[in-house]
Amino acid sequence: MTKTRLNILPTPTFGHLGVNYTEREVGFAGKENISVPEGADRQIIQFVDSDDDTCVAVGKNARLQLVRVCASEQGCVSKVNAALDEDAELGLIQLYLGGNNVSEIIAELNGSRSFFRADIGYDLGKDCTLDLNLAADHNGRKSISEINAGGVLRENAQKIFKGTIDFRTGSSGAKGSEKEDVILMDGAVVNKTVPVILCAEEDVEGSHGASIGRIDEGQVFYMKSRGIPEEKIYEMITRSKLARIIRKIGDEKTEQRIYNILGWGDEVE
């Protein structure tokens, strides 16, 4: 199998950082199409364990919550290309819980007032890797994107998060925000974060923020003063990062299945 160039950063940057693209052997079985007709409201939950290429179309005034969990031991290549019509709404929850994953998510906000929200969570340990390229392309007037990514890296895990908000000509009144919050738990982890804003329109508002590093010492001190052992504090804080996203799924069976994968038992504390 030949290697394919994936996760190409929309605007390349310094080559030595190794973030402009990745190369990997891929074996897409075919394209999966998800179409949500005008006015419909759907939730789709997928546990992705092999290479996957999905096209999503969200019609006028339609709403889709797409939940994707990548938890296989070996990991996979996954692609989501979504197109949003007028007043359409796509909420994407995507979790990475192990393996070597390459993931690309492109949301085309074509319709006026279309709305895209992505909640990305990861808990990666051992030698797990994640290369994630996410782009919100604003074409429609007053379209809105909110990208929230966060998680925990342990042991030898390596992660690249490339998030792009692209305000294209004609997207006046659009707003986009992007945030990543990464907790690094071990000295051998490698984290790369590239939050990009591209702007060809005057009347827009874009922002991005990133916070990378240790757990806040003040937070740890406060919890210790309440009698919680230090080991438990770290576990609680890292769990809370993912739990916040998992609870948004709103489907008890799926949430339980994810807790089982994470080894958290049968309830969330």
């Binding site: 605007t11 390349p12 940057t13 310094f14 080559g15 950082l17 973030v19 402009n20 305000f167 000509t169 006046s172 690094l184 738990m185 071990d186 000295g187 982890v189 490698v190 984290n191 790369k192 974060t193 590239v194 939050p195 990009v196 804003i197 591209l198 702007c199 060809a200 329109e201 005057e202 009347d203 827009v204 508002e205 874009g206 922002s207 991005h208 923020g209 990133a210 916070s211 990378i212 590093g213 240790r214």
Partner: protein, 469 residues
């Protein structure tokens, strides 16, 4: 009908004057081994430098053009004149400088600045320094400020030059670093001995007058331990229709417990490709401060880099970029944390108008050994119309769990709410908008030395009219 805020392009008429040059003083166009040997011979290089140039040329021929950044296909290297013989050798008496050159720098206000607020001045015209002078008391403190060629031929500094020249920016770094290594000419050498704090700045001014030429000055600054230096760099050129090239190189060595502030106001003409490389290595508890204003050139690639090699080393980068019609300015900074307890802070502003493109590009790398390090990056961009473009491409690479990295960026237009608030306080709309734009640039201009802050205010001529846009 809505009427948009009008912000004027930077008025470059002040810099746009030129003198005809005798083209017999130009070496041939293009970059070939024969041209390199000729430059080396003209300059009386020591043997090691001639070999260095020829080696750099081979690297240049091998390396590809950058695969990222603004388009530079309009730059035809076969048409660039790499070296122009000076009319007269460098002087340290202003009256001995040729009249046309003297007049150029007088118009730019350099002699006046020297008299009023500088400890020393260097002035480069095309390929060579034409004037260099340093105050007597500064020279007596042991500070060396001269042109690089003189230092290279002075036995007191020759070894220092050889052991530092292009060691921070090797020719293999990128294609234009290799080009610089092959054809460099002019630039300054500064040495500040241990314990000397030079409170008044030194300034070098680079002027490219010739048509279709390149300027390749090399600035090498070595600051000893427990020392302080503020160095100011200015540059400008008249406008031609042919492309010009600036591929200078700045190497800064900051000793333990020292501080070096490096301020630049770049105002090249709009036919200039500004492909400059600047780099600093910073020792224990030492600090480098970059203050950078990018206003000119057709295309810029400019990312001053700080390598924090000593425990507790610090870097600060403060920059403003104003991209108007026909300009594509790709600016930012790079920081490498390479020792424990290092810290860095980046704070930038960019403004795009009349079809100009401004890109903020940065990288912060925290290596495995940089435990306890901190970095913070903040960038804001202002779009003044919809035919312009503003991109923000920061990258952060963290290889240890014992570090804290923060980043925030914002892009947008002049806020209607802010205008409304100021108007409710009694300002008319035009004044409110002018205040917002000047406030946007202020946290950069306040870091500039007074004379440069005044120059920046002169550069950004803001005109307001109409109602809320």
């Amino acid at each position: 009908m809505k009427e948009k805020t009008q912000v004027a392009d930077i008025d470059r008429a002040f810099y746009d004057f030129r003198y005809e040059e005798d083209e017999s003083s130009f070496l041939g166009c293009g970059i070939t081994p024969d041209i390199i040997r000729e430059i080396s011979q003209e300059k009386g290089d020591p043997e090691w430098m001639t070999e260095f140039r020829l080696h750099a040329l081979k690297v240049y021929e091998r390396l590809e053009m950058p695969a990222w950044g603004p388009d530079i296909s309009g730059l035809d290297m076969d048409r660039i004149v790499a070296y122009i013989r000076p009319e007269k050798r460098m002087q340290n008496d202003w009256e001995s400088v040729p009249d046309d050159i003297k007049e150029t720098f007088e118009k730019l206000g350099i002699p006046q600045a020297e008299r009023e607020s500088l400890a020393g001045v260097g002035a480069q015209y095309d390929s060579e320094l034409v004037y260099h002078n340093v105050r007597k008391e500064v020279a007596e403190s042991g500070v060396v400020y001269t042109d690089l060629e003189s230092a290279m031929h002075d036995e007191r500094y020759a070894e220092m030059i050889r052991s530092h020249f292009m060691k921070l920016v090797p020719p293999t770094d990128h294609k234009f670093a290799a080009l610089h290594g092959a054809v460099w000419s002019g630039g300054s050498f500064v040495y500040v001995p241990d314990g000397v704090r030079l409170e008044i700045p030194l300034q070098s001014y680079f002027r490219l007058n010739a048509r279709g030429a390149g300027q390749f000055e090399h600035t090498l600054i070595i600051v000893g331990e427990n020392a302080y230096l503020h160095f100011i760099e200015g540059c400008s050129a008249p406008k031609y229709y042919e492309a010009s090239l600036h591929a200078g190189c700045v190497e800064l060595f900051v000793g333990n417990n020292s501080t070096l502030r490096y301020s630049t106001i770049e105002n090249w003409s709009k036919n200039m490709y500004n492909l400059n490389t600047k780099r600093a290595t910073v020792g224990e508890n030492a600090k480098v401060e970059w203050v950078s204003g990018s206003f000119g050139s057709h295309v810029s690639y400019l990312y001053p880099m700080s390598i924090l090699n000593g425990r507790g080393a610090r870097a600060e980068f403060t920059g403003i970029t104003f991209a108007g019609e026909g300009q594509n300015l790709d600016t930012g900074a790079k920081i490498v944390h390479n020792a424990p307890d290092t810290s860095s802070y980046m704070n930038t502003r960019s403004i795009s108008k009349s079809g100009g493109i401004s890109t903020f590009r940065s990288s912060v790398v925290i290596n495995e050994n940089a435990v306890g390090s901190k970095s913070s990056v903040s960038c804001e961009s202002l779009m003044l119309d919809s035919i312009s473009r503003s991109d923000t491409i920061p990258a952060m690479v963290v290889k240890t769990d014992k570090a804290d990295v923060g980043h925030e960026a914002r892009i947008g237009r002049i806020s209607d709410e802010a205008v409304f608030y100021l108007m409710s306080r009694g300002l008319d709309e035009n004044s409110a908008k002018a205040l917002i734009v000047s406030g946007f640039a202020e946290n950069v201009s306040k870091e500039l030395p007074l004379e440069y802050a005044a120059e920046m205010n002169n550069l950004i001529n803001i005109e307001m009219k109409g109602s809320i846009g």
